[in-house]
Amino acid sequence: MFYRETGQYKTSYAADMAVFPILQDRIGVGLMLLVAAVGIPLFATLFPATGNFFLQVIMIPFLIFALAAIGLNILTGYTGLISLGTGAFMGVGAFACYKLTTIFPGVNIIVWILASGFFSCAVGVVFGLPSLRIKGFYLAVATLAAQFFLQWCFVRVPWLFNYNASGAIEVPERTLFGVALTGANATAMTRYFVVLAIVVGLTWIASNLIHGRIGRSWMAVRDMDIAAQLMGIKLLPAKLLAFAVSSFYCGVAGAMMVFFWYATGAEPEVFSIRQSFFILSMIIIGGLGSLIGSYFGAALIYIMPILLGWLADVSGLPIGAATIEHLRVMLTGVLIIFFLIVEPHGLARLWQIGKQKLRIWPFPY
């Protein structure tokens, strides 16, 4: 309905191959970014109470989960390798960042956040090695080995948490130009901006990878690995690269989760298999093989229960916090099943269908 594609013709390949070839889409994306970078902070400044709550409880975790979901989507959605070890890979990032910033406190924390991705990247590659011989559900189980082994490390290797008595990561204060980025003194606004910048930047990079040679080889491996080999795509490097990139994203998300969301500290329990399932359910509901789907999934799975709790609060019904948590879990399950039945390809496909409908409006097909 809003689309006016007539007259939007492409005179160069660069324009034709753009990620958003349609003007209205570009406007839409621009508006979204504007809202995220200007609108929301403005709102938070004008209404500090609600605003900070909104940033801290909704926006920051939503963005971080979206990033983790993108990471898993690269592996599962684009390359077709199911992983149940996302939580652990996030943990690797978090612990790596913690070690790095305590060993080299002088280096900016943002550098370490990104660098910690490389550690989880390396771990991911190691646990990706079996993917050459193991496929499908078998591989999913193999990734559980990573999950449980790493989780065990987080608990049993005290060096990782600097021998803290709590057994948890205790986030130190780190600043940039005198502004606290992490720790108890960092404002939600500051942390929001850092998270937003990193998530947007990494999404852009993911989109670049996916739309190029590498993304095509991943999808080729996913869709028909035999044919992919005969195109000259080597399976192991392609799969390992997917593991590496995916783990990098998860690692960065994990590090940000501890340093910019929890902001003060986090226990290893955060990176349990539940977290893996949580992220996996995001990409299932959001849509496998879709970046925008990762955002949708994160929004639905993470924000929906919060809204639910808020609704319960507002309604004044005598529902305990525990009950809400249980309802949240159950509802997540119901949503997964519901969406699989309604649209097995997730919200992203619904979005695509909706968009297509608008493009051909008023026609139904």
């Binding site: 390949y13 040679r213 080999q229």
Partner: protein, 264 residues
């Protein structure tokens, strides 16, 4: 691929030497030898279960022969991985279309260019500068193929949604994108109607003439095979029973028997 380039049209490009292949106890191919000359269209025919597809699988390294050797462009090898075959310039299509179903026609064909693309990971991250330039360069090449195969209208359609005949065409396009020296076609016209078969025949001849590609094909439609091919190998129960020009093969008593035998 300088090895293949050095070979002149008419000279031997690939030779299959005494190859045998068995799965467990089942012999799929027994002591088969033949050659494929550069720039010819070579057909491999035979009744169902004669080992034709297995032969292609041996040639492009998917199966490893138990005995015998295969020389391609002067280099002899016994074991080879499929992607090595791709590197050396062997491309193929499959009996049951093996396209990347989740991708568009264009992306499928672009995937065929993977080997020719070499911009590093860093540039891929940015999809700017050299990576974009490379992408555009190969897009141009793929567009030539799209134009050649007359599939402009389905350029951006996901291949899963295409009718079978078009899928076969896209698969041919993907193989062509590899600029193969040797193109293996496994029943390119299976399940097509007469008009589609005519189109496909025309494309095969054009590929052979326009790009000078050597083609080895398996096909059941005898009329098509006789029209298209320069030389024909006939297999039956994994053994070679005849080899020669269409006219020779047609006159061969063993071939006639084999085909009469199968056609009730």
């Amino acid at each position: 691929m300088s090895g293949a380039d050095a070979i002149k049209p008419g000279e031997t490009l690939l030779s299959v030497d005494n190859v045998s292949l068995a799965f467990g106890g089942v012999r799929a191919i027994t002591e088969v030898s033949f050659d494929i000359r550069k720039s010819e269209i070579r057909a491999i025919i035979g009744p169902n279960g004669a080992g034709k597809t297995s032969m292609l699988n041996v040639i492009n390294g998917f199966y490893h022969p138990n005995e015998g050797r295969i020389s391609f462009a002067g280099a002899t090898r016994a074991r080879m991985k499929p992607y090595e075959a791709a590197t050396q310039g062997i491309a193929r299509t499959f009996q049951n279309v093996a396209l990347f179903k989740g991708m568009t026609t264009l992306d499928n064909i672009m995937a065929g260019r993977t080997l020719k693309m070499n911009r590093g990971f860093f540039w891929q991250l940015l999809r700017q500068g050299p990576a974009l330039a490379e992408e555009i360069e190969h897009r141009k090449f793929c567009e030539e193929i799209i134009d050649f195969l007359e599939i402009e209208a389905i350029r951006k359609t996901p291949v899963g949604k295409l009718p079978y005949g078009l899928q076969k065409r896209v698969e041919l396009g993907r193989a062509l994108a590899m600029e193969p020296t040797l193109l293996l076609l496994d029943e390119p016209m299976a399940g097509m109607n007469l008009e589609e078969k005519e189109d496909m025949s025309r494309f095969i001849i054009d590929v052979n003439q326009h790009y000078g590609t050597t083609i080895a094909l398996i096909e059941h439609d005898m009329g098509v095979v006789m029209d298209l091919s320069d030389r024909i190998v006939v297999l039956e129960y994994g053994r070679k029973i005849a080899d020669g020009t269409p006219a020779e093969v047609k006159a061969d008593q063993k071939v006639i028997d084999a085909y009469l035998g199968v056609s009730h």
